[in-house]
């Protein structure tokens, strides 16, 4: 189970998938929860990912209405 710490909620399917991949790469590199990182050699792996974005893109502003307001009819 994944717990997200952010106040903004990301796409949880993407977060779940990325976290699982990251931990799999750590396992493959022999990293455990007791391991200490080496700031001079931090790269541990790569993977292909065809999932979506972490956050949904903000909806674009809707186009101006084509109908022209003619003002009140007298």
């Amino acid at each position: 189970m994944v717990v997200v710490y952010n106040t903004n909620t990301p796409d949880m399917d993407t977060v779940n998938a990325l976290a699982a991949h990251a931990i799999a790469q750590a396992d493959k590199a022999g990293i455990t929860q007791q391991s200490e990182p080496d700031s001079e050699a931090t790269h541990i792996g790569s993977f292909e990912f065809e999932g979506g974005s972490l956050f949904a893109k903000a909806p674009e502003a809707s186009a101006a209405p084509s109908h022209k307001f003619d003002g009140p009819k007298l």
Binding site: V2, V3, Y5, T7, P10, T42, I44
Partner: protein, 131 residues
């Protein structure tokens, strides 16, 4: 040996049978490229902090120019700084729920997932939190 040659060359010149002594060659400026200042960039993306199976995983939808070497989170400024090898630094946003701040203060290392062209790349990076 060079000193002796210069002495002899000067002596012959003074006797009128030699060429004038060579001027000391001017010291050429170094061809080493100038050292550039580390770059600091603000990237308008949010970093996701996710805890899974005891690992703190940070995710960003961004490709770093350099290799991340350590990460610092500033709770007050709500920003995360990614320092890269060579000194470049990128800052991104992260607004963390109050109930998880103490957990992050205790975090000392993270798995970082970022973009690598069409793929994702994972780094195991030291982490520092500032309240």
């Amino acid at each position: 040996m060079t000193g002796l040659m210069n002495f002899l060359r000067n002596l012959l010149y003074k006797l009128g049978i030699g060429s004038p002594p060579e001027e000391e060659t001017a010291v050429m400026p170094s061809q080493v490229p100038e050292r550039t200042q580390p770059r600091m960039g603000k990237i308008d993306r949010e970093v996701v902090f996710a805890m899974k199976d005891g690992y703190m995983v940070l995710m960003v939808d961004h490709q770093f120019d350099g290799v991340p070497s350590w990460i610092e989170w500033d709770a007050e400024r709500k920003t995360v700084s990614f320092t890269q090898m060579g000194g470049d630094m990128d800052e991104m946003n992260a607004d963390i729920k109050v109930e998880y701040i103490d957990a992050l203060i205790d975090t000392k290392k993270v798995l970082l997932v970022s973009n690598d062209n069409a793929n994702k790349i994972v780094h195991f990076v030291p982490f520092i939190a500032r309240k």
